[in-house]
Amino acid sequence: MTSAATTSDTKAQTTARERRERPSTFALILNNRLAAAGLVVLGLIVVTALAAPILPLADPNATDPASRLAPLFSENHLLGTDALGRDMLSRLVWGTRVSLVVGFSASLIAALFGSAIGLTAGYAGGRTDQILMRLIDLMMAFPYILLALAIVAILGPGLVNALYAIAIVNVPFFARNIRGITVGLARREFVDAARLSGKGPLRILWSDILPNVLPTIVITLSTTVGWMILETAGLSFLGLGAQPPQADLGSMLGDGRKVMFTAPTISLVPGLMIFLIVMSINLIGDGIRDALDPRLRSGASARPSFRTRVAKGRETPAGDTGRQPGKASGSVHPPLPAGISPTRGEIDRTETSAAADLPPCGGDARQGRGGSSRSDKDDQSVHPTLAVRGLETQFHIGQSVYRASNGVDLTIRPGECLGLVGESGSGKSVTAMSIMGLVPSPPGVIAGGRIGFKGEDLTDASNARIRQLRGGAVSHVFQDPLATLHPLFSVGDQIVEAIRAHQSLSTREADAKARDLLDLVRVPNAAQRMKALPHELSGGLRQRVSIAMALANDPELIIADEPTTALDVTVQAEVLRLLDGLRRDRNTAVLFITHDFGVVSEIADRVAVMYAGRIVETGPTAEILTRPAHPYTRMLIDCVPVMGEPGRRLDAVPGRPPAVNRLPAGCAFADRCPRVESDCRRGEIPLEEKRGNLEARCLHPLEAGEALSGDVRTAATTSDGTPRHGRSA
């Protein structure tokens, strides 16, 4: 009871917190200091202009030849007088009034007609839409101000005609934006429903579509009002707008120009006023736009940077980054029971010739490992290629800290492949990208831990050193090769670039080497394919290109972040086999990130399972696949389809992982775990050796071969030691 009460309490708190973290649009505009300043300035100007008739101002048109061209701050004339002796302050206020009225009227007219056209075109579709939009396009084919001039030329100079001209040339902006939104809305269910209920098109447009389009109209207005005020003033400045004795800010500026050299303030003051009005409107418009931008609202806008920020004074665990702690002194790679990697066996049968030089992974691989014997690799005297200790990579967003990688240890020796497995959001990619500092900063921060690469702590390394290692000794293969290859450069160019970043070769030599690399990864017609752009290749070929690029400088460690996820199944198998063969031939260490245990079983020697930023279980692949100790691992493995067992449930692990900025005390998996007991929620649970070579972060681990079920004992007996995941061929 009490525990249930507390959970609901915390839930209530979190939603309240979320609400507080998401301020309203108006609050966001006010929060934006510049937008708020714009609002204040514009407000003052508008209020003053509105109050002009009741302000104690001189008659703006009263000439006084005796005191013409009075300077600023003279008696009775704060802003001086113009060439006819008229009071500039009074003229400024009244001129502002005219300019604002004309500018806002033009905006409203443009908004009204533009929106009407946009709504009609978007809703009617078909030929109406085509004709209207062609006309709009044609209007936009004219330089903006030129079209306004042509309209004034037709109608003749004058303030009202200038107003019409500016309104007309702004109609296309509204028509286009509103049409775009309306086209989307017209296909929505609620519009269909309105249509079926017998509403006429005009009523639907008015009561169903217009309310949804209104925000777009407001945004378009906020971005064009400034322009329209500026352009109407411009036409008046040219003498094509306001005609004497009528005056707006533009015509005042134009008049003042005639005495510019003797009394510059007469033209500069109205110009300054135009500038203030337009600037404040633009500031407000930007504020509105930013406030409506969801990316800015959540506060998560990743700034691209060369390298992930490493926090100063971070906590680093004691212990050698070059050596594995003594605990794992036992056999890290026990022999794999026969028949455990049958998928491999299937491939062997179907493609015997290819399999000959591509030995299967796991225990059987020992013979094929080009002379390097198993004992070699297990020997503690061999320094690990990669030794990550206590890695803490966090995202600092607003006031929250997301612990994406929360004290992770990883060890990979030369020639070894470690599979890092977990659901999306478990922190596996962030952990892997932290190694070479490829997590975007901000918001990413490496807050603690060490990243040992051949005994060197990379968190302390200089930027130059990191650059030297990237693509050199440590290379990456990423998930979706269409997104990760540059779309505008040929694949040959991109490989050559990778080579020349680290080797001083001539273009021709690098070119030849790139071709060899493409041959190596079995890209047919390598010489021709060099010139191809990424989008001209198939998914499998693209990923081969990525692998070729990763191999360009004989890396000692390849970090492969879900390299097969974006590919279809047959291509997946080919790419996996290619990677596996290459790392064996070259004794390259591989960190292989995936969410798919099927893939893990084919390539990894050891597996580390991540959950909510922590390693929850690690051990040899065979052991983990057949006899996992952590219930989470068991559930993940149960998600993999098995050939010949079509009836098997394939549900994903029910529930969702906890948010890593609000981790619960104790086991993070407790809420989803069928074996949870009260002690699971009490405190930190260490990663401990459970049996044999398995280490798990669990207080109630599964016994060997035990399945997850309501009744644990029956499940254990039925499975009878036979691994449920066994993929016997």
Partner: protein, 314 residues
């Protein structure tokens, strides 16, 4: 490649046709009697009759258009009644000066806009970004006709570094250096808004590109940050900035009206303003047609450049 360019050229033909129809309709749309509007209310009846005949106003609109467009295509834009010269001569004379000014401004705007946008994006939320963002905001809010006056007062009157007006010195001017000297202030004035717009959109495009996976790949290859920014990110961002530069060409050509008036630059913009004030409709018609057509061609050029840069658009 040739096929692509040819296709774009063909696509521009309907647009040019549409433009010519709208420009042609200028005269038909004039409220009241066009001939009186063109010649002024003091025109003699003989002159009005002669103009009506030469404009073919007694015929149907399509017939009038055909007569007009065949004249335009052979370089006959009619006669300016205010200046008593063929429209084509005046327009071409003036247009070359405008092209020089607009071209220089667009060049300035492109170079500085791209640079400012790149710096701003790379230093997002940093001091340089904030400074550039504010400068851009000011730049796109300043009325160019006011900025021109400020520049004249400071650079021409106060420190006498650049001339205040004209395209060549009245006495003994005319060389390229002299023109360049006169070009500096108007070109800067005209470039300001376009620079701001280009900088703003370059920043947005760069930020978008810098978040892409292929930029992470470029960094993971061990490329220098300069190469990542200027080759990998900038080239990709440029694809979406080029159409913006094309649109800015229109704003520069239009904005030339103000700047030419302020600096008395002998371009087509200043000519148009005078022609409108004097109701010299045929001159306005010719000027608008030439500037609008050149804008279409410039956008065509931008389009072709974009296709050359991004082969996926073919």
């Amino acid at each position: 490649m040739t096929a692509t360019i040819a296709r774009r050229l063909l696509a521009a033909i309907p647009v040019l046709f549409g433009l010519s129809v709208i420009v042609f309709l200028m005269i038909a749309l004039i409220p009241g009697d066009p001939a009186t509007a063109i010649l002024g209310s003091y025109a003699t009846p003989e002159n009005v009759a002669r103009l009506n005949a030469s404009l073919g106003l007694d015929k149907s609109l399509p017939q009038q258009y055909l007569a007009w467009i065949s004249g335009v295509l052979t370089g006959d834009f009619g006669r300016s009644y205010a200046l008593n010269r063929p429209v084509i001569d005046i327009v071409m004379e003036r247009f070359s000066a405008t092209l020089l000014l607009a071209g220089a401004s667009l060049l300035l705007a492109t170079v500085f806009g791209l640079l400012a946008g790149i710096v701003s994006a790379v230093r997002q939320f940093g001091f340089a970004d904030k400074a550039i963002t504010l400068a851009v905001l000011i730049g796109i809010s300043v009325p160019s006709f006011w900025l021109g006056l400020l520049l004249i007062l400071f650079f021409a009157v106060r420190i006498k570094l650049f001339p205040a007006s004209g395209m060549v010195a009245i006495y003994g001017g005319g060389g390229p250096l002299d023109i360049l000297h006169h070009l500096v202030l108007p070109a800067i004035t005209l470039a300001l808004v376009a620079t701001g717009v280009i900088a703003r959109l370059t920043r947005t495009a760069m930020l978008e590109v810098l978040r892409q996976d292929y930029i992470r790949t470029a960094r993971a290859k061990g490329l220098s940050e300069r190469r990542v920014i200027f080759r990998h990110a900038f080239m990709a961002a440029l694809v979406s900035v080029i159409p913006v530069i094309g649109i800015q060409a229109g704003f520069v050509l239009g904005g030339a009206v103000y700047v030419e008036t302020v600096f008395q630059w002998p371009g087509i913009g200043a000519m148009l303003v005078n022609a409108i004030s004097q109701r010299d409709i045929l001159l306005v018609q010719g000027g608008v047609l030439v500037v609008a057509a050149s804008y279409v061609l410039f956008n065509l050029l931008a389009d072709v450049c974009q296709t050359l840069l991004d082969p996926r658009l073919k």
